[in-house]
């Protein structure tokens, strides 16, 4: 694809362009899990959440695409297949912004440990696979706080795809990336779409400091490792129940 030099009229003014901030001005912490469907990330985050809940820590769990705000629009768009790469991406960004401004940010300022099942990297990987420019996506989500830990669960494509296909009678249109017109066969389309997403994730491992987790390792063993990493990287005592 030919690259087009951005016009100065709309390009960011280098003098005023903000550098991405990694400085945290809140007492809370943010732990996120990322990975393609079937990589085991949700199971692992659930177990981490249970461990922290049972210990009485101040935590909040949030997941991608869960707010009622854009539900009707998403449903409308998906039912009638009206979503383009851009509107699909913007709708999810609006949904994320709502969660970010009304849950994640206030909780981080209030000193909570926030656990997120998928975060902005899902948009970078998935919407990038749909054809949105990486530069445009990075800007779109630049308001999001940077996670303290990003666990990237990686399973070989075949393993992940088989886990999903086996558990689901029929793949949904957008889920299978049918809007991309890669293949008329849903399973085939899903596989190619997931492969593209996987490649996009792989490219972020270094730039975004992902903690790589092998999704083929036994569940309890992987969870032990996850808990160990969280304990090392986050001062958990600050989220511990307050003694009276």
């Amino acid at each position: 694809m030919a690259t087009i030099t951005p016009d100065i009229a709309l390009a960011a003014d280098p003098a005023t362009a903000k550098q991405p901030t990694t400085k945290r001005d809140y007492p809370g912490a943010l732990v996120v899990v990322e990975g393609i469907d079937g990589s085991g990330k949700s199971t692992q985050l659930y177990l981490l959440k249970r461990w922290l809940e049972i210990g009485g820590y101040r935590i909040h769990f949030t997941e991608w695409n869960s707010s009622p705000l854009v539900k009707s629009a998403t449903r409308r768009g998906k039912q009638r297949r009206l979503l383009t790469a851009t509107t699909f991406s913007l709708l999810h960004a609006a949904d994320f912004a709502d969660r970010c401004e009304r849950q994640i940010m206030p909780l981080l300022h209030g000193g909570y440990l926030v656990l997120a099942d998928r975060y902005i990297y899902t948009a970078f990987a998935r919407d990038g696979a749909r054809g949105c420019s990486p530069h445009w996506l990075r800007n779109l989500y630049s308001f999001a706080p940077t996670p303290d830990i990003t666990f990237y669960f990686r399973a070989p494509l075949d393993v992940a795809v088989n886990r999903i296909v086996a558990g689901r009678p029929k793949l949904k249109y957008y889920e299978a990336g049918m809007d991309l017109g890669i293949s008329l066969d849903r399973s085939e389309s899903f596989r190619i779409f997931q492969e593209r997403i996987l490649n996009n994730y792989d490219q972020m491992v270094e730039t975004d400091h992902f903690v790589l987790m092998d999704g083929t390792v036994r569940v309890n063993k992987l969870q032990k490792l996850m808990r160990q990493i969280v304990s090392e990287k986050i001062a958990l005592q600050q989220f511990a129940p307050k003694k009276k």
């Binding site: 951005p6 016009d7 960011a12 509107t87």
Partner: protein
């Protein structure tokens, strides 16, 4: 109507694109239809239509002018498509509901508006432009940028979101003083809207003061945007017929229409003053 016969770059000086650019080969001119990277899947060379944007606050006479221009263009044999805020099938009604609740935060609202904008652009406006229609936009990205910017969202961030948008062929700004806009709006609806007076920003408990302060902030953003994007500024306080004459003159020159004579039909004569 083809683009090569247009005189786009004579009358619309745009940053980074001096007037002599029109003599450059067509291939070099294609990127100028978008601000940055074009939307995924769009081939700029297919877009043979013309995009005319009319910006201005509520009470500046935008909608009146668009009704009159539509009639004039149709009488000249041009097919017209219109767009405006909150008119998308995808999220138009959702935004109405959010606004009614007053519970939405600024970033979410800004992104819902951008979804609304791109849904209209991709599914209605680009197809219209591919078919060679004239699109009259009742507000465009500039209002969306100005509204979000006065609420503290970074200008560069906003410009980044809209860099995949189509650059208008002509952008008119109907400039009116906030006091005049207030009078016109109040006369029309006997009240002033919550959002048009920026009441979410806690500027003043007095509705009039709040409206004036908010509209002054928006106006300052527009002055900045006008320089940056080469708006054609018109005095929105002039009579409807005078503003319309100026609009027709500019559009006619752009499209190569010889006659700018126009009298509204009986159906629209009530707008003429």
């Amino acid at each position: 109507m083809t683009r090569s016969s247009n005189k786009t770059h004579i009358r619309v000086p745009q940053n980074g694109h001096p007037a002599k650019k029109r003599r450059a080969p067509v291939a070099a001119e294609i990127p100028s239809r978008f601000y940055g990277t074009p939307l995924p899947g769009v081939r700029p060379e297919e877009l043979s239509g013309t995009l005319v944007v009319i910006e201005g606050t509520d009470g500046s006479g935008r909608s009146t002018q668009i009704s009159l221009l539509t009639e004039w263009l149709e009488s000249q044999g041009f097919a017209v498509q219109t767009m405006g805020l909150r008119r998308s099938y995808l999220v138009g009604e959702d935004i109405d509901a959010l606004l009614a609740e007053n519970a939405v935060t600024r970033m979410t609202l800004a992104l819902m508006y951008s979804t609304d904008f791109f849904d209209q652009l991709e599914r209605r406006i680009l197809p219209a432009l591919r078919s060679g229609l004239i699109v009259l936009a009742d507000r465009y990205i500039f209002t969306l940028i100005a509204r979000a910017a006065v609420r503290g969202i970074g200008r560069d961030y906003l410009h980044g979101i809209y860099e995949t948008a189509l650059r208008p062929d002509l952008t008119f700004w109907l400039n009116v003083r906030p006091e005049i806009a207030f009078d016109r709006e109040f006369k029309k609806s006997q009240t002033i809207s919550y959002w048009e007076s920026g009441r979410d920003m806690s500027l003043s408990n007095d509705l009039f003061q709040s409206f004036i302060r908010y509209q002054s902030m928006i106006k300052r953003e527009f002055e900045y945007l006008s320089k940056r994007h080469g708006f054609l500024e018109l005095d929105g306080e002039s009579s409807v017929s005078a503003v319309n004459r100026e609009l027709r003159k500019r559009i006619a020159s752009h499209l190569g229409i010889r006659s700018t004579q126009y009298r509204p039909s009986h159906a629209l004569s009530h707008l003429w003053r």
